[in-house]
């Protein structure tokens, strides 16, 4: 680790912290339907959408109606994408003549994008047409991100006042977020990306003759726009197989910094939005601090793990000065790769600029653990916020009793119903991650997909189920993901991780919304300030993390201790 490395990390994090406040306030205004500068420009488009779709933006929805609308549009969009992927051969903008995807792969891919996971069981440049990437995946990147932010807004509104039966209008939330936040920001980012060398073209792949006379076919495509929303919406599904490690997705240090910023900008800003919606900025900052402290620790550990290099290779005569460069790009080096590893898994982004499968054992443990903690540090756009609120509820419930009152969070009493729903949500993650990985390592049809042997093989499988359930989408990519078993199994894991988590959370918001908002006082458990921050960190680590410790012991931890004993597999 070097001061220069830390300076780069500090630069990115400072940018994120600086933009969180204005961005968070802006998103809050957009969600409230308040006038914004862009609103004057795009207002007609917004109103046009409402008229065509028959939406009354002022009509509030109960949590059930909100959830139903959310599920409905995502279900419809899932079917549409499935059809597009199956039929892409017959659709326009397919200069390479890509064939339709197989049913399991199309199922997996459609599920992957509808759940904001963007797990790639396909290789973009080898399997998808430009058309599929544009009106299939890109649109989904917008929709699933907007869905997440809308759900977070609904959850925040549940805490906002007393006796609220309604959580806002889903259609209006979706439209406003897309039009006023995601679309303009993506456009600006895309222009920057193009200027730095990310392609935006519809021309077919080109054949070059290398200096040594060999033929090199270079895959191209309309990359830049998708790249922008891929990161901004914490989607993470790359245009190319190598994702943000591909020089056409992330050509230099500048694009890398902007990509890093855009991964975490909205998730962190949403804590500010949350503070504004619930009417107490400090509450938002407390969540911001929890996310920030834990992700900072994670960054430090990955950086430390990778910077030392691989001792097995050092013993062979490899200079450890550059760190563990297997699966990394020279232009990013260790610090920018380590930062990417932590931020892409702290959020549910899953884009990668280094191959996670080749990280050092501890370097690989951290991203896996970050996803297992529930994708809340700071988590996906929207999903991170409502995810950490679930943990905050549990923390408040356990520790809140210790101040001698029925626990309350933001003036809402946490009772049996909320605890039940929160535990249900958390349980789903455990069930899908550990159940899926446990079952799979016992099945030859699944273990045949593993590329690595020994504890790293277990890590590969564990990571796959972790990533799918956490809607992250990054992978220990050695695993052969495109098998019917994994396509369908992981597809279901993504579904559970997204919607089986989201529906109980919306139900919590609905239940809390209807409750009286209690006045705070000296007897109320304070949910801001260092004490709560420390408590929430403890609860996230102990309640969220401990359950995975046995499995991790057999994976990365075993790999680390055997590595130190110079074992290979």
């Amino acid at each position: 680790m070097t001061p220069i490395g830390w300076a780069q990390i500090a630069l990115v994090l400072a940018l994120v912290a600086l933009t969180a406040w204005p961005l968070g306030r802006y998103i809050a205004s957009v969600l409230a339907g308040a006038p914004t500068p862009l609103g004057r420009l795009l207002g007609p488009a917004e109103r046009g959408c409402y008229r065509l779709a028959g939406i009354d933006p002022g009509r509030g929805m109960s949590w059930k109606a909100y959830a139903f609308a959310l599920l409905m549009i995502n279900a419809a969009h899932f079917l549409l994408l499935y059809a597009m992927l199956r039929l892409q051969f017959y659709l326009p903008l397919n200069p390479q003549g890509m064939a339709g995807l197989s049913p399991p792969l199309a199922f997996n891919t459609a599920m992957s994008f509808v759940t904001n996971t963007n797990w790639q069981a396909y290789a973009g440049e080898g399997a998808l047409s430009y058309g599929s990437q544009m009106w299939g995946l890109t649109v989904h990147n917008f929709l699933s991100a907007a869905t997440g932010i809308a759900a977070a807004a609904a959850v925040a509104r549940g805490f906002a006042g007393g006796g609220l039966k309604q959580l806002g209008n889903f259609w209006a939330d979706l439209t406003r977020i897309t039009l006023y936040v995601l679309l303009p920001a993506s456009l600006v980012l895309a222009v920057f990306y193009i200027a730095r060398g990310i392609p935006m073209t519809l021309s077919a792949y080109v054949d070059a003759t290398t200096l040594e006379g060999a033929k090199q076919t270079i895959a191209l495509g309309p990359v830049a726009f998708q790249e922008a929303i891929k990161l901004l919406g914490t989607n993470g599904g790359g245009f190319f197989n190598a994702n943000s490690a591909h020089p056409f997705e992330n050509p230099d240090a500048w694009t890398n910094i902007v990509e890093l910023w855009s991964i975490v900008a909205i998730p962190f800003a949403l804590t500010v939005t949350f503070g504004r919606i619930v009417g107490d900025a400090r509450q938002g900052w407390a969540l911001f601090a929890v996310m920030g402290i834990l992700i900072l620790a994670a960054i430090g550990v990955v950086y430390w793990a990778e910077a030392g290099g691989n001792p097995l290779l050092t013993a062979l005569g490899v200079d450890p000065a550059l760190g563990n460069m297997e699966g990394k790009e020279v232009r990013f080096g260790i610090p920018m790769s380590a930062l990417f590893v932590a931020l892409t898994t702290g959020t549910s982004c899953g884009a990668v600029n280094a191959m996670h499968d080749s990280l050092m054992p501890i370097g690989g443990l951290v991203p896996m653990f970050l996803i297992q903690l529930g994708e809340i540090l700071p988590g996906g756009v929207g999903s991170g916020l409502y995810g950490i609120v679930v943990y905050a509820l549990i923390a408040v419930f356990v520790a809140g009793l210790m101040v001698g009152r029925t626990p309350e969070y933001l003036g809402k009493k946490i009772q049996a119903k909320e605890v039940k729903l929160a535990m249900l949500a958390v349980l789903i993650l455990t069930f899908s991650i550990l159940g899926g990985a446990g079952l799979s390592v016992a099945l030859p049809v699944a273990t045949a997909s593993l590329a690595n042997a020994g504890p790293h093989g277990l890590s590969e499988m564990l990571y796959a189920w972790t990533s799918a359930t956490g809607n992250n989408g990054s992978a220990f990519a050695g695993i052969t993901a495109d098998t019917p078993y994994l396509d369908i199994g992981l597809g279901i894991a993504m579904l559970l991780g997204r919607f089986a988590f989201l529906v109980p959370v919306l139900a919590i918001a609905g239940s809390l919304g209807g409750k009286v908002k209690l006045a705070g006082g000296a007897g109320t458990f304070p949910t801001h300030g260092p004490l709560f921050i420390g408590l929430l960190i403890g609860v996230i680590l102990i309640m969220g993390g401990l359950q995975f410790f046995p499995a991790l012991s057999l994976g990365p931890i075993a790999e680390q201790v055997t590595l130190l004993a110079c074992k290979t597999y």
């Binding site: 809140g400 210790m402 009152r405 009772q415 958390v426 016992a442 277990l458 006045a519 007897g523």
Partner: protein
């Protein structure tokens, strides 16, 4: 009388027998009960312990099978034994708590004797009645209760006045008056009429009388899970399922890694990870919380009410009897210009010798306390007694005379039309402050004024300050006018007051406060308090109060002491704190158990994982066993804490949380490291590994 401590020197029915934490009789019976409670159908109510029981059975089966097939059985058998002990310790904790309640119920049951009631043939005619077994009485029956009779059931006095000994319920042996109409019309089954007679309309059928309900409550037979308990149960059940999944999924992962984990090892891991500590103690904590309230001579109609007491953040307190002593008493001597305070005091004392009213006596005692002046009337002095017409009292000794009384009356006696300005100002100030000024004259000369005040109980101010730190607002309710109320409110340090309060005002205030998102507690005794008692989140009715009030509230204070509201809140808080603390402790325990068990069970596959054995436990088997033993013993070790409750300190939530997090959170992480290591050392020492 000190408002802040429970009454001393009075034995009460329930508090009478102080039960030691592990009373031999109770403990012995509890062991039997604990075994009965192993019945899985009953244990289902407690998911954590239920799962533990199933797992224990499974391990026992494996151990016996191994025994039968000649495989190694010692280790599984030991694990099974300790798992069964874990279950047993949990049921034992509950049984002990119940046993203590049962012991208290015994004293109540003695009051419920089978007696013959005198049921009137015709209402209004006391001359003819028929004897009916008390148990056969129905609601609405009219009975006659005469001196020496037990009141057969709960009822409303419709005729007559009598003194009733209620010691069977309250422990207070001085009889109380019960009469028809008004606020003293309720009688309770099991109490005894000591003089005169009453005609009573029965209001509770046999088996549902106040005393019956008390017995059931105290025994815990009617115990329903409280809202917080249900929520906590769900959390614990959720955690249990999570760890169940984690442990089941571990088996194939371990197999993939080349290590075979048997059922005993997985069972040990599961049971040590699921929150057995709090799971085992949860119901004991609830029962003990109720018990603490009962020991305090307060009966809650449900556990829900006790919890609500912890949540309360506004207390409505009656001024008289709670905040002040209720009588006006001398609080200051203010001499007129040119007069010495001592001279004034002496004059006041002499003038008050003829005043037998409490105010008059308070002047004497105040003078004694303040200046050590004891009244010595001059020889041959004649007392002028206080009367309502003269509004003054005094003393005449020959030439000299002393007078004390209402200011205008005294001024009239000495024919002083224009008293000195200093005196007038003092008198005005006293009136403004809600005090009553009295004037004192000696030998026709104005000596000064005495300030009579409604005296705020000593210590009450600190008490309210403590409540404020806990985040609880106190509101004084008084019939006084605003000025007087404001003065006393300031002196007592309450946050708000309701002056000239009518029952409707109380009700309105409660509604308004609740609408602001606060929870309100109040006490009351009269029928017209009933709506407010019902509206309040915690309504404490006085045992001396009316039946209507007792029905409307969700607690009854047998001592009829309104100050207790404060203690009730503390007990409610303590109950929740105990639950929260032990939950935190239980969950925090898991960290160390991983470090004990994981390296032990994976050592075969990856010997290098021995690095995680930070406690340096002797062998894999002793590591697993030590964790299981610790897990079982910690339940027993914490039973006293569960029964006694975590110490409550009246500080703000933040400070309380910091303290409890440190003790039970951090302590919960560290304690098992030490405990497991010690058990491992012991096992090694005994050669059991």
């Amino acid at each position: 009388m000190d408002a802040t401590t429970p009454r001393a020197g009075r034995t009460t029915a329930l508090r009478a027998d102080q039960i030691s934490l592990f009373d031999r009789r109770i403990a012995l019976r509890a062991i039997g009960d604990a075994i009965v409670k192993l019945n899985p159908a009953r244990l289902m109510r407690n998911p954590v312990i239920f799962v533990t029981e199933i797992v224990s059975a499974l391990v026992s089966f494996v151990a016996l099978r191994n025994l039968a097939t000649g495989q190694a059985f010692a280790f599984p058998l030991t694990i099974a034994a300790w798992l069964w002990l874990t279950v047993l310790f949990a049921t034992f904790a509950e049984a002990v708590a119940e046993g203590r309640g049962r012991a208290r119920a015994e004293s109540l049951r003695r009051a419920r004797t089978d007696t013959l009631a005198k049921r009137l043939v015709r209402a209004g005619d006391r001359s003819s009645y028929q004897p009916v077994a008390a148990t056969a009485l129905g609601v609405g029956d009219i009975v006659l209760v005469e001196a020496g009779d037990l009141v057969p059931s709960d009822g409303e006095v419709i005729e007559g006045v009598a003194s009733v000994n209620e010691s069977a319920i309250t422990g207070e042996s001085a009889p109380v008056i019960r009469e028809s109409g008004g606020d003293r019309s309720a009688v309770t089954g099991g109490t005894t009429v000591v003089s005169d007679w009453l005609v009573v309309r029965i209001t509770a059928a046999s088996g549902s009388t106040f005393i019956d309900r008390m017995i059931r409550l105290v025994e815990g037979a009617e115990r329903r899970k409280t809202p917080n308990e249900i929520a906590l149960d769900i959390l614990l059940a959720g955690l249990t399922i999570i760890f169940l999944i984690a442990v089941v999924a571990l088996e194939p992962m371990a197999a993939y890694s080349g290590s075979v984990l048997g059922v005993p090892v997985l069972a040990a891991l599961l049971v040590t990870l699921i929150p057995t500590t709090i799971g085992g103690l949860l119901s004991a904590i609830g029962i003990a919380g109720m018990d603490r309230l009962v020991r305090f001579n307060v009966l809650a109609t449900s556990g829900r009410a006790v919890e609500a007491a912890g949540d309360v953040d506004t207390l409505l307190l009656d001024k008289t009897g709670t905040i002040t002593f209720g009588n006006r008493m001398a609080a200051a001597f203010v001499p007129a210009p040119g007069i010495d305070e001592r001279e004034l005091t002496e004059a006041a004392v002499l003038a008050s010798l003829g005043d037998e009213t409490p105010e008059g006596r308070s002047i004497l005692s105040f003078a004694r306390d303040r200046f050590g002046i004891v009244a010595e009337p001059p020889a041959g002095a004649a007392v002028v007694a206080f009367s309502a017409t003269t509004r003054l009292s005094g003393l005449d000794a020959g030439e000299r005379s002393w007078r004390k009384g209402a200011v205008d009356a005294v001024l009239a006696t000495i024919r002083l039309a224009a008293p000195p300005v200093g005196f007038s100002q003092s008198v005005d100030r006293m009136a403004r402050a809600g005090s009553t000024p009295l004037a004192v004259a000696a030998g026709g000369r104005l000596m000064g004024a005495i300030e009579l005040k409604d005296i705020v109980k000593p210590g009450i101010r600190d008490r309210f300050a403590a409540l404020r730190r806990m985040g609880i607002r106190t509101v004084m309710v008084t019939g006084d006018n605003r000025i007087t109320a404001a003065a006393i409110a300031t002196e007592a340090g309450v946050d708000d007051f309701i002056a000239e309060a009518t029952p409707q005002d109380k009700l309105d205030y409660i509604r308004k406060t609740q609408a602001e998102g606060r929870l309100v507690a109040m006490c009351g005794d009269g029928t017209n308090d009933a709506p407010a008692l019902a509206q309040a989140d915690v309504g404490v009715a006085m045992q001396t109060g009316t039946q209507a009030a007792r029905e409307a509230g969700n607690m009854v204070d047998l001592d009829s002491d309104p100050t207790k509201l404060i203690e009730i809140v503390e007990i409610g808080k303590q109950l929740l704190i105990t639950r929260g603390s032990l939950t935190t402790f239980s969950i925090a325990n898991d960290v160390s158990k991983y470090f004990a068990i994981l390296p032990a069970i994976f050592i075969a596959a990856y010997p290098e994982l021995g690095a995680m054995n930070v406690m340096h436990l002797a062998t894999p088997q002793s590591a697993i066993l030590s964790a299981v033993i610790f897990n079982a013993l910690i339940i027993v070790a914490l039973v006293p804490l569960a029964l006694r409750g975590v110490k409550f300190v009246p500080v703000g939530a933040a400070a309380l949380l910091r303290r409890n997090l440190l003790i039970y959170g951090l302590g919960g992480i560290i304690a098992p490291f030490i405990g497991i290591k010690l058990i491992d050392l012991l096992l090694t020492l005994l050669g059991l590994t």
